[in-house]
Symmetry: C2
Subunit: 138 residues, 2 copies
């Protein structure tokens, strides 16, 4: 192996931690905790609590809490799923979409502040490699 996977993992983990931390103040201004933001950002793709829990790799009980908070803040609402009465279909409100987009923009800006230090070709490379790495999971 040319590059140590453990070292690679540690580097990457540190990168994400630092970027997220740098954005936490901006997220807070939008009325979002980091954990809540992850839920908000995934709702469109995975609109059911159980699906969110699986996708985000967090406990169902935690999703219940984050969704409750996000609903209280007016960022989303629950609707009963017609096809399966056990399920709560989560729907983003306009405010929810706006907050999500602004939060994503803040995160992207901070990440970008670091990405700009590398050449465009490397960004494309990074994107391609990360996609390949996520492949086995899907």
């Amino acid at each position: 192996m040319s590059v140590d996977a453990a070292q690679l993992w540690t580097l990457n983990h540190r990168l994400l931690t630092v970027v997220l931390d740098a954005c936490s103040a901006e997220l807070a201004e939008l009325g979002l905790e980091a954990k809540e933001f992850f839920v908000l950002a995934e709702v469109a793709a995975s609109p059911y609590p159980a699906e969110l829990a699986a996708r985000l790799v967090i406990p169902k009980a935690s999703v219940t809490v984050y969704v409750r908070n996000l609903v209280a803040k007016g960022f989303m609402r629950r609707e009963i799923d017609d096809a399966d009465l056990r399920r709560h279909r989560l729907v983003l409100t306009d405010e929810g979409e706006a907050a999500r987009d602004r939060a994503l923009a803040a995160l992207a800006a901070e990440f970008d502040r670091r990405l700009t230090t590398i050449v465009p070709r490397d960004r494309a490379e990074l994107h391609r490699i990360l996609l390949a790495l996520l492949e086995p999971a899907q």
Copy 2:
């Protein structure tokens, strides 16, 4: 921007979450929580609690807890720093080093399980790009 930074960030975050989750059972067998593992893995490079807190971007109070657990488990011990009597120099025990190395190996194996799906040249690329991205922080 050729590649969306927000999307890149999300992909990367998901990758690390999934890898860490896949390893959590193995870490547990070694007697380690994920958070404790991060501390254990950094102690050699940052042997003081305040330094660990800054490096890992976690509160000092949390470091206190993780260090207490790791000491109780016999993975490290505190020594009074000769140069500054306020500071606790943290020293890994042999068991601590062994556990850290095995945990890192488990993490590397899981990460590697994904890395093997990409060509060696891409690994080197990824390593180079991540290092470049972390540059501004240091």
